[in-house]
Point group: C2
Chain length 420, copies 2
């Protein structure tokens, strides 16, 4: 029986085939995401992976609606697996915004879903690190959020040689559009053209822009000039104060596809341009109001960072560590009359917080030792009786080959020393 | 806009309403689950939350089929959200069993789904700690798994006063059934009667048993006697060697509803009998073969522990810690000319691994201090200039009220000391 197309199984390392997805790498990424979000004072939240379809159809713009993984449930409800987290966040905030001090900084690590009929082989789910700041209009919030993106990527070992944040602004593009007397009804369509500029031929873009009464030349000149607005300059200064200037540049190519963005937008890219965006985000000051039906009006901004592109990048830059069971000890049981005493030792070591494994059934001594090595155990442990008949533990450090014999009651202390 | 019935939002603590679900409590539970599984040498895996419907319908027995959250997708496929993890695990193992040394010990923390039409207000999803041992027929594996259940519950502060593992065996019931010349075709139906014994009236059970040619009296006598089979005795002895006897008892009431169980089965219950089962599991030696269409034949056993009952129990026993942002420092910015220097300090502290927050925008000094207290920050930090014009950091421990002034470059070290 096969799994569904576009979905992933995650296997423990070492992987029997290199093209399998690693559960350890996934957890490594989750841990880094969670840890950096917390360091920045962000607090975790989550919502259901399923939502009423209308939560997504009315707010996110055409870009996302055609890709929804939606269906009708047994209760005849129109449902969608969540394609993004922001509408759920807006819904949750609208319900309890008075219960939290503003501005609040929240994060989540949701699995997101999409269903595209045409593109075979493409994934239909991924995990995404989402962080948002709610209730703060000042660009200081944008800077804080961008700093989090930068520090998160740095925590994986990526440097300013590897990635850059392309900083842009819908406000700047709006001003550009209005100065040229663009038709307000065409504004979102114009953003879509800018969004696709780098992926389409100049001819195709030129033609589309002409329909909107604009020329590719003036659009290109505006991008080329790349002059920071006052708002963007404030953000650049803030990031400079943190020593993060090398990680950001103004780039008006970026405008973000989703309809709900309102101000500053940004994307993180690898410097070599080999991969799709590593992360992207921006302001969506009107979304909470929209989702709450006008009840709650709060400025907001956030970003999403997916696990798939990040993992590709980390692999390409050889930045993934080796994953194993991280065994502190493997208990060798060579004398079956000592199995009960060995189980007690294993129990005590685990109770002390150590990662310990052993052969569940009687096994040849050399096979047990080989297994300890395969599992990359830091130590082997063996229960023995000394001449006085007392139970002793022989602890052998597999790296230094150093061997110590201590009373079983002191084995945990001994293991702690070799660990330190 | 409302979320779907039966689904949960998870909010950060402190919760604005006590009936909300806590994202912090959920993560606390996940961390304990993951940590204990690793200590036992179990390795993490995961599969998709969606699977082809047939993965569940043909293998799990009627108990689960009626409750599936299933639907037809855009590609006309019959899909189900996973109601349990074991079929996915069996599918994954069947695909790559040769790539892993046997026996292997795997765990997952999946979100599981069900759809019951009638019972309103009941949850349609929960999270479950799943741990399985694959490729070992010896009862030593059953004991290892049960020890993991016990130690996991103990890691939350629960003791033998709070819970007990009720140990039972389908083999024992099978023998009982065969000795009384039960109709083999009625065997699974008989197990279902036993499974419901504690929830139905004696009259109803008596009647059903009569149809199967058995009497409630002989069934009750068998349960009452509670004599351990040789297999169960081996498990009890193994657990006794670990010092865990107080946590287990033979109880033949337990038989587990799912069709695929084959041997030893068990459930964890609170001693007072206030809650539903905290965890349950057992052997399913034939399932991998079934799922793989006969290709792979491996004995297996596992358990599931849900987050909902566990959380209820921990709340009832007052065993949940208080959750907060765990701030190491809150940076006070009272002089706006020092904001840039403060941002640099915050950046350096976060880079050193500390959890640090601050007011994004200019805020009255007393309000900033109040916020630091609300967030239960361990310290406040303030950048100042000394008489020589050098940037200093004033670090104040909010518990001891002790205040130190150090060069900004030494603030991280100082914070580390107050932490240790």
């Amino acid at each position: 029986m096969e799994r569904l197309p576009g979905f992933r199984d995650f296997y423990p390392e070492p992987l029997p085939q290199p093209d399998l997805w690693s559960a350890d790498a996934r957890q490594y990424i989750f841990d880094k995401w969670r840890s950096m979000a917390r360091r920045y004072g962000f607090r975790e939240y989550d919502g259901p992976p399923l939502e009423p379809l209308e939560l997504f159809t009315t707010k996110s713009g055409e870009e996302i609606v055609g890709q929804l993984y939606n269906f009708i449930d047994k209760g005849e409800r129109a449902i969608s697996l969540r394609p993004e987290m922001t509408p759920t966040l807006a819904r949750m905030i609208a319900a309890y915004e008075r219960g939290y001090k503003k501005p609040f900084k929240w994060f989540a690590l949701p699995q997101l879903f999409r269903y595209e009929r045409q593109q075979k082989g493409r994934l239909r789910e991924h995990f995404q690190f989402n962080a948002d700041i709610i209730g703060e209009r000042d660009p200081a919030a944008d800077a804080e959020l961008i700093a989090l993106v930068i520090d998160t990527l740095r925590s994986f070992g990526l440097t300013e040689q590897d990635f850059v944040i392309r900083l842009s602004s819908r406000n700047a593009w709006q001003e550009f559009f209005q100065q040229r007397q663009g038709d307000p009804a065409q504004e979102y369509a114009f953003y879509q053209i800018i969004d696709k500029l780098e992926r389409e031929t100049p001819e195709a873009s030129e033609q589309k822009l002409k329909l909107a009464g604009l020329s590719l030349a003036e659009v290109s000149a505006f991008i080329e000039q790349g002059k920071a607005t006052a708002e963007l300059q404030t953000i650049l200064d803030n990031l400079a104060a943190r020593g993060l200037s090398e990680y950001v540049k103004i780039d008006y190519h970026v405008i973000r596809g989703l309809a709900y963005y309102t101000g500053v937008v940004f994307e993180a890219f690898d410097r070599k341009g080999e991969f799709r965006a590593i992360a992207g985000g921006g302001r969506y000051d009107n979304l909470v109001k929209l989702i709450s039906g006008g009840k709650v009006d709060l400025p907001a901004l956030g970003f999403g960072m997916g696990d798939v592109v990040l993992l590709e990048l980390l692999k390409a830059r050889a930045l993934l560590p080796r994953f194993d069971a991280a065994l502190d000890g493997y208990c060798l049981i060579e004398d079956e009359t000592l199995r009960a005493a060995s189980l007690k030792l294993i129990q005590d070591l685990r109770a002390a917080g150590f990662v310990v494994d052993y052969s569940l059934t009687p096994t040849k001594s050399d096979k047990q030792f080989k297994r300890a090595q395969e599992l990359k155990a830091a130590n082997t442990l063996k229960v023995e009786r000394n001449l006085a008949g007392e139970l002793m533990a022989k602890v052998k450090n597999l790296k230094t080959r150093q061997e110590t014999v201590v009373p079983v009651s002191e084995a945990a202390t001994r293991l702690g020393e070799t660990k330190g």
